[in-house]
Amino acid sequence: MDLVFDRVGKRFDQRDALIDLTFSMASGEMAFLTGHSGAGKSTLLRLLLLLDRATSGEVSVNGRPLSKIRDSGIAAYRRDFGVVFQDHKLLFDRSVFHNVALPLEIAGFTKRDIDRRVRAALDKVGLLARERASPEMLSGGEQQRVGIARAVVARPKILIADEPTGNLDPQLSAEIMGLFAAFNSVGVTVIVASHDLGLISRMSQRILTLKEGRLITLNTDLRGDS
């Protein structure tokens, strides 16, 4: 799924969070989104997930302008995305397995398919043995990996991660970035917001840098082959 930001602006009260933002990503591309906090990374991701709507310009996903999607269609639109949150957003009242199964339940998969896919996703992030555990029992890194399993279990077309390595040590962070690269290598469009410049510069992927709501680099040359 490709996506296009065309002269997108977002204004909150008296403050411009994004100004005249124009860039595009091809289907199957991977990009890092970086910048200081408050630079507009989260706002950009929120526009993409339709948690907010652009004040000016147009965001299009797979050729479809988001301004044409009505509120009642947002839920269905979001099902094309897998999202990894900085604070994981796991539900502590159910097991790891059922956290990961949630997107499949929403999409209406059969129990058999759910079982198989959840186990495959947990296997991918190395947590198959913990499927019955409560997320509370897991370490921060493990919780983040459960969040990643949930994000990819329904085979999203676009994977979005917002500061996925925020609270993790460098080795865990590298492992998690490696997971995203692996998903990208099977054709998923991946956007990772991160301020860990050292880590992302080693990943040899495109880097979009935001500063005070504007895009200051359009680093396409660094893109590795994936």
Partner: protein
Amino acid sequence: MVGQSPAGAGSGPRPQVLAWAYHHRAAAKTSVEKMLREPISNTLTVLVIAFALALPTFGLALANAVNQEVKRLDAPPQLSLLTESRVTLDDAKLLAERIALRPGVASVKVIDRDTALTEFIEATGLDALSSRLESNPLPHTLWLYPAPNIRSAGLEQLSQDLTVLPGVAEVVLDSRWLERLEAFLALARSIAVALGMAMALGVVLTLGNTLRLGIESRREEIVVIKLIGGGNAFARRPFLYTGALIGALGGLVSGVLIFMTLEILNAPISQLFELYDRSVTVAIFDLSDLTVLVGLGSVLGWTSACYSVQLHLTRIQPR
């Protein structure tokens, strides 16, 4: 575009209708599980609903039962027609034949004045009276048996019509008690219905509030569901089932309460009916009433869940 799945192979989501049915089954299961996790507060809510439903239902059931019994009463002689004293027995018999042809009159019996006096003396034991009377002061009397389907308003009209016939001195209508009973029953039913509507509103509000607390306590879950592509309908479903289930349980418990109350009241009710030479022939509250009550409870529960969810759940949006 996604050539190979990152999450393993498998077929896609099932067709819409199947998915919908599956969602509903899953939502029902989830709501039962969540209810069992908070047994005390849910039991209390069920009891509140049970009492709210039991009171008006019991009143209505009792009023309907008494009403049915009243309808089954054989119409007793409710009109006594006294002739003028100059009317002879033959004229009285002619009058009786004419009246018997009227609509609303089942039959007419003529009590001649001598029989009436004899019966009066026998009934009262006033033998001495007869010897003192120079002549029989009683007129001939006609007893009218109204048709069974005629109600008190019809009787009133009939008695007025008969009063103006020639030779008729007076028509005594003995139906005041029936009128009063009917009026009382109508009032009792109106009160039960009004009470029922007030209680139904109470059920909707009580349950709506309980569900609101449930929605608040699951705010995090609702936000996550919405973030990963679940719509309002998906988030709403477990609450609708919880509402319907609590309502249905409330209906069931209220039925049990009514059965228990009737068991306790069984003796005094039978006694009351015996005073009117009746035995209780209709069931005051039976299984079909219980079914209605459970159905009503679940409809009320579903309704209040819809209202509560509309008010609170749709406002919860990911931030």
